[in-house]
Amino acid sequence: MRPVLPALRYLLALVLSLLAVGAHAQLAIEITGAGANRFPVIIPVFENEGQLPNSVTDVVRADLQRSGLFRLIDLGALALPEAVMPDLPALRHRGADAVLSGSIVSLGNGRYEARFRLFDTQTQLELGAMALPMLAAQHRLIGHRIADFVYEQLTGQPGYFATRIAYVVKSGANFELQIADADGMNAATALRSREPIISPAWAPDGERLAYVSFEQKKPIVYVHTLATGQRRVVANFKGSNSAPSWSPDGNRLAVVLTKDGLSQLYVLNADGSDVRRLASSAGIDTEPFWGHDGHIYFTSDRGGSPQIYRIAATGGSPQRVTFEGNYNVSPRLSADGKLLAFITRNTGRFQVAVQDLATRQVTILTDSSHDESPSFAPNGRMILYATESGGRGVLSAVSSDGQIRQRLTVQAADVREPAWGPSMR
């Protein structure tokens, strides 16, 4: 028996209705479960923050709150200037284990600097300090960076707030490949089509996406540069072309082609040149995921049922990775190479599972039944995936220990095919 984590064990009844405006539908993130012991922290408003048109510290607070790991203690309008040592014993008395002090300093010509320090109220030591130059319009990015700093200082792991996600929105007969900040804000459309778009995959540079578009009435793999909208066909062979995954150096792509019959794995350059077959089977090989461990993980039914295998990126003989159940698909490896996320069929329900590659221990993380397309945050701590709620496609995220859950919805549309991008530069 595989352990199934109880649903909604910890209920944090908090809804952040994040209002995306303009041409885009409203995006909302709902936190449906949080860690048992949340770290009490004070994130006060920064000194002189009022000179910015938009709050930076609101972004920091929302990020930390949403992570499920922190409990925010409110100081109201009281600022703790960066240049002044805060009264740590008094702040400890208010229940905080850590305190951020900070100021916004105007540098003139519309330029500012966010200066901040983090303190441990117990040891009364400064944990770290930073100064980030910024423009007023960068309040969200700078807020995410400050949240990343606090997260890393307090958890020992890199933060994942200054990242972007890609996903596909279907509304009526229209498909849009959208890009948003990891908190669902700043949504923008990269590609709009009357035909399906699937399998977006971020290049390691965070500036390009590979994906499959059906705009030519068949699946073709494109590489799309987000800033310019420039697109390049990288795989359009006879038959179907799909399932792109970038090599960690961003130079190559693993793809699935059917030019020689059934779906099989190939590797090619990011410009479409130098196509080489990676593996051969008499069945289906698909969904390659190019891991940082030098292996390409993939789904194959060569043994009868779809299971996950891996093969060295240089070729060789594949090894089977999953053994429990008769439907294990969509493999994704965490950046540290220790954890494999995938979709398993569990008594008729498709659910997100993780397998510890060292121990082979499998844990099912969700209690839903239409989960698809898992995608790790860069730090491996959260897994973004597509599922269904109320008959509509929604995005959800679950921590890799199953304790923290979030849901991201776009009203009046189906959302699917999420991909979590690398940290923003």
């Binding site: 209002l19 700043n186 030519q216 310019t228 909208g229 420039q230 179907s240």
Partner: protein
């Protein structure tokens, strides 16, 4: 439930987002820089129609284009044989005509794995046509997987409707 509504101050930023469109050669026809999100929008175009009356005449078997499959099966049922025969004959008598076969699946399971299963169905239809006299070079077998369902309910009847291969002729794709 405690609802915390954050101030929405992005209208100006989002309205500054750039948009671009593409023709079928996938080149952006316009783009603009200075987007606050650093993401330019591209819009794709779609294709046109056929021309031969027999292919659309509802009294002609050639107007029927769908071959259905059983659950988890990739062999053509005997009832579909006359339809496959007719199209194979048409292709062999009209060697200038090309055909695109689109394989489809029901919605259950992974999109990419379903794309691979749809390919199996498209390949099965192609093999049957070639066996009956069509030229291999006339036919391209591709998959739409679960992406273009003809029926969108989560019912057995609907799943069966979506397990099929569709035959499209030159000009229809």
């Amino acid at each position: 439930m405690n609802k915390l509504v954050l101030p929405a101050l992005l209208a100006v930023l989002l309205s500054a987002c750039s948009s671009t469109s593409t023709d079928t050669s996938a080149q952006p026809t316009s783009s603009s820089s200075g987007s606050s999100t650093g993401v330019a929008t591209v819009t794709t175009d779609s294709a046109a129609g056929s021309g031969i009356a027999a292919l659309t005449d509802p009294n002609n078997i050639l107007s029927k284009r769908s071959v259905y499959f059983d659950f988890d099966r990739y062999a053509i049922r005997s009832e579909a044989q006359p339809l496959v025969d007719a199209h194979a004959r048409f292709l062999s008598q009209n060697p200038q005509m090309k055909m695109l076969i689109q394989g489809n699946t029901d919605e259950r399971g992974s999109r990419e794995y379903n794309l691979a299963l749809g390919q199996k169905r498209a390949n099965a239809v192609k093999q049957a046509l070639v066996l009956l006299g069509a030229q291999d070079g006339q036919i391209e077998a591709v998959s739409l997987g679960e992406e273009k369902p003809r029926c969108t309910d989560s019912s057995e009847a609907c799943f069966a409707e979506n397990r099929r291969g569709d035959m499209l002729y030159s000009g229809e794709f």
